[in-house]
Subunit: 200 residues, 2 copies
DNA sequence: CTATGACCATACAGGAGAGCATGGAACCGC
DNA sequence: GCGGTTCCATGCTCTCCTGTATGGTCATAG
């Protein structure tokens, strides 16, 4: 029944066949709004409007899908984050750019980040990966603060406060208008950086 | 087989019968080190060295256990937290006391707090409860900063940074020696409060 | 037009876990 | 020590999910 797609195939374009990427994308969505426990083969199949027979052609097992999901996250939410922000320029401007990433949310998905952290609580390899990402990110911040002239213990502490603060913000599941966040931005910057927001 | 408790009944004292509280305690432990998904009736039964038959005498369903778990958390980790910290005294000293709660961790359990937040990601009522707790706690902080003389928008921002920072710290699953944390405490205090650590 | 490979449906086996029903054991008041 | 209450064991049913096997359909190269 129904290769003709009764209503809407949810993600893939009309009638197109699926690939591993489609399954990973569906898994990512399920992870974000349900946790790993909700990443189940038959549910994804239902959502993609195919049967599990399709899945087991693309993947050997559910574990293989989770591995692919992990690699997908690493590739999309860790590497770019670092390469973009660990560049050149005035330290204060680099810091402003760092905060900007959180604010505009173009480079990465905070909800996915939280979901990954949730997953990490019950999976050793995931925990390792997430912690590596966290360490790398805080290290970028630490170097920026050090370049701004803060002595070593304080640079580390400021990096932590800034980064942990953001993680906490998203962990709380706070929903605020972009306007409000932008209005508070100068104050956040002053408190976290100990400087006023620079021009540019 | 075995009312005589082969090895150790895990929690309840020798041979004693169980009550709702025992099941809730077991559920809390399971929640902390496995997430809601691991709070399963038969696993708890195994851990308590009884069968599921016992459970369904004390509880109508698994959902009822989760409700009890929720109420248990609210009663143990929200109300005391506020009453203790919203007291009298110098604002700076109250702030120091607030941070002290995080540090010595006697008044509440940060791991449980994180587990609850994870749970809140996939449950509306839990999210509502956790958010109420968060709002109440940040409000205590905000009032302290305001009493310290910070004008209103900044008091709010400093309260957020301080609180979110702690939430993030635990969300990352960081494990540090108490020594290191105490060594960094003065710096944290200086960055977060804009003051040196007061005496007393 | 046909053959090959990519993609998917169907049907089966098996496990894990929730929930109910019922009988038995332990305990307590009297 | 007897009867009622409290607590627990045992044995079912049912649902959800994973994994495998196998055959069908579609696209496309030649």
């Amino acid at each position: 029944m129904a290769r003709k797609a009764d209503t809407a195939p949810d993600k893939r374009e009309t009638g197109a066949r699926l690939g591993r990427a489609d399954w990973v994308a569906a898994a990512r969505r399920a992870l974000v709004d349900g946790g790993v426990a909700e990443v189940k083969v038959d549910r994804l199949a239902t959502r993609l409007r195919v049967t599990r027979g399709s899945f087991y052609w693309h993947f050997k097992s559910r574990a293989e899908l989770l591995d692919a999901l992990l690699e997908d996250w690493r590739h999309a939410n860790v590497e770019p984050f670092l390469s973009v922000l660990d560049g050149e320029g005035e330290p204060v401007l680099r810091l402003k750019r760092f905060f900007g990433v959180w604010l505009n949310g173009a480079a990465f998905d905070p909800a996915l980040d939280s979901a990954m952290r949730d997953w990490a609580r019950t999976s050793r390899p995931v925990a390792r990966l997430v912690r590596e990402a966290d360490a790398a990110r805080t290290d970028v911040l630490r170097r920026i603060f050090a370049a701004m002239g803060y002595p070593e213990p304080e640079a580390e502490v400021r990096a932590r406060v800034a980064y942990y603060h953001q993680v906490g913000y998203y962990a709380l599941g706070i929903v605020e208008s972009r306007q409000l966040r932008e209005a508070l931005f100068p104050l956040y910057f002053k408190v976290l950086a100990g400087h006023d927001v620079p021009e540019g």
